[in-house]
Structure formats: C-alpha cells, structure tokens
C-alpha cells in the first residue's frame, strides 16, 4: 500500500553512506539430520531494492547497507574466505536479495558461491522478483534459496507488512526455485504489526498450510523491534508488543503437527523488551526450548513449559481484538 510505504519511508530517515565492514560469524545448524558448523557472512551491498522504495514495516536491515562499489564486494569475499574454515554450511546474506544484480552484479553471483568450494550447502536469500536471475548461479552445488513470505494472507502482506507482493506471485517464483532443483526455505513472520496475538498465531499457521507442500525448511521470525521502523514507532507508543514466547511455541507446536520438513526459529532479541518475550521469569526456559527444538525438531521439549504468565497471554488472546486500535 503506497500510503503505508510513505510512512515506512518517513521512519527510515537519512540512510548513511558510510563504509561498513562485512559481518561474519559461525553458528550451529542442521545438515542431513546432523548438527554441523555453519559459516555466516553478511555481505555489504547497496541493500534491498524494495527497502529503497519504502520497504517493510518491521525491517531495519537497511541500516546494514551502504553505497557499495563493485570492487568492494569482491574485497569482502576475499576477507571472508580468509576466515572461512571449511564449515559445511555457508550462508551468504546481503540484507537484501543475493540475486538482485543491483546488489551483486550478475557475473559475480556465481563467483561468490564458488569461492566457498568446501561448503556442502550454500544458503542465499532473495525476494521473489529476482528469482528470474536464478540462471546466474547454475551450479552443481547444493543451494538453498531462502525467500521471505512472512504471511500467506494478502491483507497482511499489503496492509500490515507492506511486502510489495501478493501470495500468488510469491508462489509462482517459489515453484521456479523448485523447478531449478534448489532447496526452498520459507521465512514466516510471527506477529506482523496491527495483528493481535491471536491473529499472529493464526496467520503463521495458515501460512504454513499454504506452503507446506513446497517448502524444504520453514524458518519462523518472531518480530523484533528494529530501530527506525514503523514497528519501532508503534512499540514506543505502546501500540505494539513483540510476540509472547507462548505464541512462538504455539506456532512451532502446531506447525510441526501439520508440516514434516525442517522447522527453525531464531528468536532475535529473545527475552528482551525489543524481542519476543514473556514475563521475564520464564523467558530463559522458553528460549532454550525453542533453540533446542530448532536443532532437534522434537516438540516434546515444549511439554514442560509452564508459568503463571500464561493467563495474561490467554487474556490477550481473547480480548485484544476488542480494543480497536
């Protein structure tokens, strides 16, 4: 919605052009059912093309980007390769779309992927409109393309997130990913703005229903408060609260009932005011369980979670929709 886009744009303010070093870290992930090391590279590019037009209401990743020159991208790769220690999984993210030639020129895309020759699996991210460039990365390597769907409800996409596409368009390109023999990871947002806690759970589950036939991995992202976003504005005005961890667990539990593939959930700023949290007393237990579940896929982990704050969460589930703004 253009009216919502103009609001998201307003909150972004001036985007800095200052040089930033790439971010690199290592983490645990799952490959063929085994827990392995993964290498994560956040490549600096000029950032998400959609974000430049306003972007999504919850996304603050534009702050990770700057006006990168072509030669600087290769420099970043060289630096990363030095740190790379043959981790089996390599994730190359750009705070945008890897396949967007304005972020990474077409001729470089394949080159970058091949720089990590020891990797068994490469993960990249892209918005659907750039999947058409998938030919650029024709390779025998196992490649997973992560596509943000956030919600399969067109109203949520348009009036809450300002995602810039409808579900049907996303679906068309997601199928293309499969046709090209790539793996598909689907990002689903938990609690987009203007949704109630109850909506948030329903929305995530309904989205799972719609993509379960096509997704190789589901990755749930509980909304965290990024600075200079619509969501931050709402949060500061006490009009938005990140999802309860109860909701996150509910989503994971129900999803695993209806979906057989990998389910992941990385709770950014978990337990903090700006991230998904409960009452403070039980947050740690919940976060550990969710982390555990992401690696082992066993819902029994959630069975023992109990806290008196559950009643407060249930109250909200019942009555939040009656507040009307």
């Amino acid at each position: 919605m253009k009216e919502l886009a103009s609001v998201t744009k307003k909150f972004k303010g001036e985007i800095t052009k200052k040089f930033k070093k790439p971010r690199i870290w290592k983490e645990k992930d799952v490959l063929n059912g085994k827990i392995v090391d993964a290498f994560v590279l956040i490549l600096r590019t000029r950032g998400c093309r959609w974000s430049h037009k306003g972007g999504c209401t919850m996304c603050g990743y534009f702050k990770e980007t700057y006006d990168v020159k072509e030669d600087e991208i290769l420099k970043q790769i060289k630096e990363a390769v030095k740190i790379y220690e043959n981790e089996k999984i390599v994730k190359i993210f750009t705070s945008g779309s890897f396949l967007d030639e304005r972020e990474i020129p077409s001729h470089m895309q394949k080159k970058i992927i091949e720089s990590f020759s020891k990797a068994e699996k490469i993960v990249i991210e892209s918005r659907p409109e750039f999947i058409k460039n998938i030919e650029n990365i024709k390779s025998n390597k196992r490649i997973e393309i992560a596509m943000g769907l956030e919600s399969a409800n067109d109203r949520v996409l348009e009036y809450s997130i300002n995602k810039g596409f409808k579900y049907a368009e996303w679906r068309k390109w997601a199928e293309k990913v499969k046709e090209y023999g790539k793996e598909l990871k689907v990002y689903i947002l938990i609690k987009p703005p203007f949704l109630t806690e109850k909506d948030a759970i329903k929305d995530a589950i309904k989205s799972v229903e719609k993509v379960k036939d096509i997704a190789d991995t589901l990755s749930f992202n509980p909304v965290a408060i990024h600075s200079r976003t619509v969501v931050e504005f709402l949060w500061k005005k006490n009009l938005y609260r990140p999802p309860w961890l109860w909701s996150v667990v509910e989503v994971l539990r129900k999803s695993s009932e209806i979906y057989d593939g990998m389910i992941k959930c990385d709770v950014v700023a978990g337990g903090k005011e700006r991230g998904s949290h409960n009452c403070g007393k039980c947050d740690k237990d919940f976060l550990n369980s969710i982390k555990n579940f992401s690696l082992r896929q066993n819902v029994d982990i959630f069975k023992n979670l109990e806290c008196i704050c559950k009643e407060r969460w249930l109250d909200l589930i019942e009555i939040e929709e009656l507040f009307k703004g």
């Binding site: 919605m1 009216e3 919502l4 103009s6 609001v7 409800n153 109203r155 949520v156 009036y159 809450s160 203007f194 949704l195 109630t196 909506d199 329903k202 929305d203 504005f233 709402l234 005005k237 006490n238 009009l239 009643e311 407060r312 249930l314 109250d315 909200l316 019942e318 009555i319 929709e321 009656l322 507040f323 009307k324 703004g325």
Partner: protein, 580 residues
Amino acid sequence: MRFEILRRDCNTRIGNLEIGERKIKIPNVLWYESERIPSPSFAELKLGKDFKKGGTFFYPEACKFCIPPALIYPYSFPEEIHEKSFALNKKFFDFFSIVSPKWDFKKASIYIMANAKELFSNPRNFVNAVAEIRKKIGYCLLYAPGIANPVNFPVLCYCGIDLFDSLYIVLKTREKIYFTSEGEYEIDEVEEYPCSCKWCKKGIESYEDLLMHNYEAMKNEVVKTRNAIYKNELREYVESRSHFDAKFASIIRIMDTDYFGYQEKRFPLVGNKIIASPYSLKRPDINRFRERIRGRYKKPECTKILLLLPCSAKKPYSLSKSHKIFRRVISNCINRYVIHEVIVTSPIGIVPRELEYTYPSAHYDVSVTGEWSREELEMVQEMLDDFISKNNYEYVINHLPPEISEKIDIDAVKTCIEHPISQKSLGKLKDEIKIAEEFENVRHTVRKKDDAKSILLYQFGEIAEKFMEECSVKGKYPEYKIYYMEKQVASFSSKRGLFSLTLAGGKRLGKNYWVEIDDFMPRGSIFAVGIKNADERIRIGDEVVVYYGEELRGVGISKMNGEEMVEADAGEAVKIRHHI
C-alpha cells in the same frame, strides 16, 4: 434498538437503551464474559455474548451484532492512510460503526471510538477526538473500548461517552490490581480493604475474588456517576476526581478553555448548586453567564449610577443581612431608581441586581476568605472594564471592600472603608448616593420595565427591545409580570430566574427560540420525532415558542438543545405550558 434520553447534565446524559425486551440504563458497561473470564452477576450487557467478537480485519468473523473487524492505524498516522482504511472497513459496519475524527463515518446504532486507548494517553488528543466524533455522530450512543476503570469513569462520562467495557479491569486484575474509585493498588500492598463487598468481607484470596471486587467497584462508580447526572452534580463530582490523576485535571481544563462551544451547547441553562472550586472560573455554565453579560445584556436604560456591591454568602444576595442593609440605605435615597446595583463576585464576575435569581447567580457556594486569586482578579477586572465601557453610566460608586477594591483598577468613587457594613462605610455610601438627586427623576414603573427588559435581553437577546415596546410591568420583584395591552405576556419565575411566556408572549417573541413542528396540536410534551426544525440557540431549560408553519401553537420549556431537537427522533423535546 431504541435510545431514549431521560436526563442531561454537563456533556452527557442518562437514558434507556431498549434492546428487544430489555431496558438498559446508559451510561453503562459492557461486561466481558467467556469460559475463562466470568462477568459479574449484575451484568446487563455482555461483551462476547450479547455483542460477540467479530474478529479482526485480517481474520474477520463478521456476524450480526458483532463488534466489527476493522483496520485501524495509529491516530498520528497521515490522513490518507486512515481514509484508505475506512474504505476497507465500512463494509463491516452495520449495527456498530467504528468512528474516528480521521475518517468519514457510516451511520449505525452504536458508534465505537477508534484508537481510544492511544488517544486517552494524551488528554488534548482525547478531548479533541471526542468533540470531533460528536460533530459527526451528534447525540447518538458512543462506546469507548478498553479504557474505563472506576477512577476515570466519571471523567469519561463527562466528556460525552456513553458506553464502556470491563476489558481494562480484566487485564489489570491479572496483574493483581485492586481498584477503588480513587486509584489502582497492588493487592498485596492494601493494608485494609476499604470496601464492604462480599469478597472484601470474606478476604480476597483468588483471581476470581479480586475480579469480583473490581467489578463491584466499577458498578458502584457507574451508579454514583448516574446519580450525579440525575442531580446535576456531575461537574462537581468530576472536579473532585481531578485530584487522583493529573490527566483528569488536564481534560477539564482543556475542555473549558478550548471546547467552550461544545460544552456550552450541552450544559443545561438552569442547574443545581455549584460548589465553587478553582475550576469553576471557567465552568461552561458560568462562562456562558459572563458571555451573555458581555454580549447580550444591557443595563436598565433609565439607570445612570452604577453601584458596585460585594456578594454575600446567602443567595439570592438581597435576602442576606448585608444586602438588606445596603438596600435600606439605597431605599432612603430620593431618586433611588436611577441607581443600578451590580454585585462583584467570584467565580461569576458581575451580577446585575435584576439577574440575582438567574442561574448561576443564586446557585453557587464559594469559600469566602477575603483572598482573591490572580485569575479571579483578572477576570473581575476584565468583566468590569467591558461592562463599564459598554453601559454608559454617568457615575460609578465602588462599595467593594478593600481586599478587592485595592486590587482592581476602575474610575469610581470609593465608599467602603474597612468593612462594607461598617457605620463609616454606610455613612459614606449614604452621602455619595445623594448624587442621584441631581439626575432626572426615574419612576418605579419605568425602572421595572427596564429591569424586565434587561432580564429578557439576557434570556432572548436583542428581540427583548421589540418585545417590551408598549409593555408595562406589574408586581414587586421578583414577582414581575409583563403586560401588553392589559394582557399578560410573561411572568418572572424566581425559581428559574427566567421569564415564562404566555401564548400572547409567544406571539411577541416572534421567530426567536422557535421550534417548528409537524401539523399536530401540542399537548403535554412534544417529542423530538415531531420536530422539523429548531432555533440552534435553544438550550436545555430555555423558554421556547412552538410553531406549525407561521402559526403559533404553544409555548413551553425545552428539554434538549435546538441541535438535538432537529437530530433526535426520540425523547421529550419540549414541555408545553400553554397551547392554542
């Protein structure tokens, strides 16, 4: 559904809402009920049962009598985005319609205020939103979701909201909050329960106990507020609440300063006793009195000498000891009727003698300590400057005590030394008013006629001049009766402080304070449904004339203001006194 208003006070009212067989008093609370959350046994309207949840814009579950789904962006978002969301929302509105100053509105039976919680966090935005919404929905039912509690209930009613819910209490109870009319307390920190409800007596041990007590506290507040409306005491009740939350004080102040028009229209013309507080200076009904003195009123034409007198605790002033003494001095003066007595007082400002029965002149109690605040002094100074400049007196005598006299600046002869009724002061007054002898003699009958005209100017505005042409006044004040060609046209009601009209008087008033009805013979009461049009100057309690076309059909007292008469289709609009 039918909504009939029974009583009005401040910006609100009491009424009956008829839904099916049931009759529900307004203002009232929609009590939330579900399997997990009980409602109180006295709940008349249940949210979740009588009015079901209709889901959200993203996941609607629309059904009849449901709280409709809607996409509602924050109040501070740009206008365009709100207009867009209204376009998406309106299809859900039917029995209920969600209203916002930011968007167009769709007609419905009950209106729900959008962004109520966000707005209520900022008094200025909140008051502005209520007033703007009222502009759109007029006198229909307005529900503000999610904000009411026993502390803010009277203030919210005062602003003009009719329906509330228990949602805020439900959420707070889970946080172990114990409510009283004065505030929210953590239950573990309450030493003794200041309440004798069943649950407090027993001792609060569970969530349900606390919830039930909080419901009781809310119900009591609803009843107290309704009683205050019945007795025309809501303003005092709300002022007293201002001590418990600075936000309430802000709401009162902002409404008085910036929403005089909104309030003045709604405040009845005649009211109950006012217990004066610092807020009273800007009370809409007191301010209205001042506005009329400034705008409509003219001194009795024949008077030439202005005599400023202090007020008295007893009302009307002339029944007080001090004023009886003043009047004795004046009555001994030859040509006494050339003297115009005007009382200087707070919080009203100035009260011409002939208006001393007129609300609120005879209806306020103020703590008299002899100390005047800066605001009071400024107000009095401003009123006097305006009054003296507009009314051409030839001589001004100031008999105000030093504590006020020394602080105001007027060109007058001072007669008060130390105390207004001291022998010295009275002697000086007696000497000074001898000046009256130098003016052309004013006869009592002439003065009575001019007094009556001044009162009518206050009551009806400039038509009073024409009304009084060739009239005479009989009787002793306040028992004035006005005659035209030997026929009584009006009589002063000391209880109302206004003139009541006869049919002949109604004719003389012409098309002023008029109500136009359909073709029927008014008897007893006229209901809003029969009214085609009405003078927008009409206030609750005004004397009005009833016309069918050009034919005068009756005179009576208005029960609603002119705007509401035109808009409403239920409720008594005019109580008829005389009809053809």
